[in-house]
């Protein structure tokens, strides 16, 4: 009889590894397309169904049913289960959608117009990677990332602090504080191959922030 193999790792480690592999795999799988998902208690716009009217229709819908059905089940029974707490609280959360499902096709940057108490205005250029030197853009890239999110309407809760920060950066003269900050976003959409490329950037003022002067003076004093 062969001698029993020496245990290479405790059983609890093995259970943890199996659980962890399952958890990160389920969490990183793509979401089913929006129209098939039920969100906020609302039923999905499109119901998954199998088309039995024709053979090609059947094959196509069956593949879709299998793929999206699997992802919807993963969403409902795994991602929304208490498993989420393990990943979200420990930092093991991860989702790998860089340049996907499609890469971004809009080049964007931000700037602002700062209004001062004496009625004057000043243009504030939020760091724009395109205009920075090679070394600077490597270190300042977070500004691009911040604006990528903070420049969207979904993140409107970030706008007042965005404006207030710009006011603080522009607050040089205690007798003439900034009173209002107009946030601007600029877009240039990349046209598909074979079409004429845009060169010009649009200019949209998307938020006017009234500066909280008391907070501004307190922040300035704190610095």
């Amino acid at each position: 009889m062969e001698p029993a193999e020496k245990r290479n790792a405790p059983i609890w480690i093995k259970l943890f590894v199996a659980f962890h592999v399952f958890a990160i795999t389920a969490w990183t799988l793509p979401l089913a397309p929006k129209e098939y998902r039920s969100e906020g208690g609302k039923p999905p716009k499109t119901k998954l169904d199998i088309d039995t009217r024709s053979v090609p229709g059947f094959v196509e819908s069956a593949v879709e049913y299998g793929k999206y059905g699997f992802l919807l089940t993963n969403q409902k029974y795994i991602k929304d289960s208490p498993l989420q707490f393990y990943l979200l609280s420990t930092g093991f959360w991860q989702f790998w959608d860089m340049f996907s499902p499609n890469p971004a096709s809009i080049d964007q940057y931000a700037d602002a117009v700062v209004h001062f108490a004496d009625g004057s205005t000043r243009h504030y250029q939020y760091p724009r990677m395109f205009t920075l030197s090679l070394g600077q853009k490597y270190i300042k890239e977070r500004y691009r990332k911040f604006f990528e999110r903070a420049g969207t309407d979904d993140c409107a809760m970030l706008w007042p602090a965005f404006g207030q920060r710009i006011a603080l950066v522009c607050f040089d003269d205690p007798r003439n504080p900034p009173t209002k900050v107009d946030l601007h976003r600029h877009f240039m959409k990349v046209a598909p191959p074979g079409q004429k490329q845009n060169e010009a950037y649009s200019d949209e003022m998307y938020y006017a922030h009234t500066v909280d002067l008391a907070a501004l003076r307190q922040a300035k004093a704190g610095g």
Binding site: V17, T90, S100, P103, D107, M157, L158, P160, P193
Partner: protein, 418 residues
């Protein structure tokens, strides 16, 4: 079935050299330190109360962990919020937050050196997760890779090799010479997580991305000027090259998720991955992302393989070898001798008994400074090079008087002190 299960068990949990984990630790912790230094430049903007994301705004943006969950179809609500590892959340005093940040930097530095590795890697992981939870708005893909990397380091016995902990242990005689063997589950998790990154990003693209499916995806990022870095020839970003680069990107990502586990193809798949990320690093301004993700590649090689490379590289560099003669009548003390030799993974320094009153050395048939020659060739001693005379003191302290000749030899069987 049982045999298959045993093979799987041996693959995931079997023992092997910790050298790959040690190198992974050096790479990830060093990049973590560099990343923290880069963020430090705009620390107040990102983490301060006067910055873009004060605590009150963070709470609105991040919310609490949803207490509602689904348990096999049934909606359940917890009576409490689930906590996060977020030691900076709620800290309103910038001085405290900055002190915490510096402690995380220190932990990263110690982790890179492999000093108090168990504690320092855990501190680094808790610190990085807390920093990421303090400002999730500025995180990019590289940060997610870094976060996974430091968490795996906190779980792994990564201080068992390529670390000052090991050197100190050898010096004190508390560690046996030869490669440290560990259960490889943490290295397998690193491999698996990397493959998962590529697999899911491939699925996102190929399964749902129309531009990837029609092979024009790389047309777009090349024209986003906010990502511009070094210039590339015009034709690379024009049709038909765009078809080629899009296809190659998908093929490499798919291979990195699958074929990389097939040993005969492993090297070529990893080289393709390195080229892909080299191109991204050259062309696009995504700080440290390529370096971080390529650091994971080392996990696909066993520690024994890495040690073999080091040996073979040392042999190739044989013409640079230095021959250090110990002072007459002196030999290495056992532990310190092993520690000194362990700091020379390429085997570029040969220590042997000498007949001069002090240390002497030769390299390429010319006399050289023995301290400088041994320090410059001992990769593990490089961090000590910044402190003047430390290496000299260590070498001198490692010696003792003996009646007979002495030598330390590094052979395939291990290290022997005679």
């Amino acid at each position: 079935m049982r045999a298959w299960l045993r093979r799987v068990d041996r693959y995931w949990f079997g023992h092997g050299s910790a050298t790959s984990l040690g190198i992974f630790r050096i790479l990830i912790a060093s990049l973590c330190f560099i990343n923290l230094c880069m963020l430090l430049v705009d620390w107040e903007a990102w983490f301060g109360e006067r910055g873009f994301l004060p605590q009150s705004v963070l709470r609105k943006y991040q919310g609490t962990l949803d207490a509602n969950f689904n348990f096999f179809g049934a909606a359940v609500r917890l009576p409490f919020a689930v906590p996060r590892v977020a030691l900076l959340n709620g800290v309103m005093d910038d001085r405290l937050a900055l002190a915490f940040y510096f402690l995380v930097m220190l932990a990263a530095l110690l982790s890179a050196l492999g000093l108090w590795t168990r504690v320092s890697t855990i501190a680094m992981a808790v610190g990085i997760v807390s920093i990421h939870h303090r400002n999730p708005v500025v995180l990019h893909g590289g940060d997610s890779v870094l976060r996974q990397g430091v968490l795996y380091l906190a779980l792994a016995p990564c201080g068992k090799a390529c670390s000052f902990d090991r050197i100190i242990g050898l010096w004190k005689g508390k560690i046996a010479p030869g490669p440290a063997l560990v259960s490889l589950w943490s290295q397998r998790l690193i491999q698996y997580n990397l493959a998962l990154i590529y697999f899911t990003t491939f699925w996102h693209k190929f399964g749902f991305g129309g531009l990837w499916q029609n092979l024009t995806a790389t047309w777009y990022p090349a024209r986003l000027h906010e990502f511009d870095r070094f210039p590339v020839p015009q034709f690379v970003n024009e049709l038909p090259m765009v078809y080629v680069t899009t296809f190659v990107t998908l093929a490499v990502e798919f291979s990195m998720a699958t074929l990389v586990f097939y040993r005969p193809l492993r090297k070529w798949v990893l080289v393709a991955g390195l080229l892909l990320h080299g191109m991204i690093e050259y062309q696009m301004n995504i700080p440290l992302f390529s370096f971080l993700i390529c650091s994971f590649y080392i996990a696909f090689y066993g520690g024994e393989e890495v040690e073999g490379w080091a040996r073979r590289l040392g042999e190739r560099l044989g013409r640079w070898k230095a021959f250090v003669r110990l002072p007459f009548g002196m030999t290495f003390r056992t532990g310190p001798g092993l520690a000194v030799v362990a700091m020379d993974p390429l085997g570029l320094v040969s220590y042997s008994p000498g007949d001069a009153p002090g240390l002497a050395a030769e390299a390429r048939d010319k006399p050289v400074n023995p301290y400088r020659a041994s320090l410059s060739r001992s990769l593990g001693a490089w961090p000590l090079g910044g402190l003047p005379y430390l290496w000299r003191r260590l070498l001198n302290k490692s010696l003792q008087a003996v009646p007979g000749p002495a030598a330390v030899e590094q052979t395939d069987a291990g290290i022997s002190v005679q």
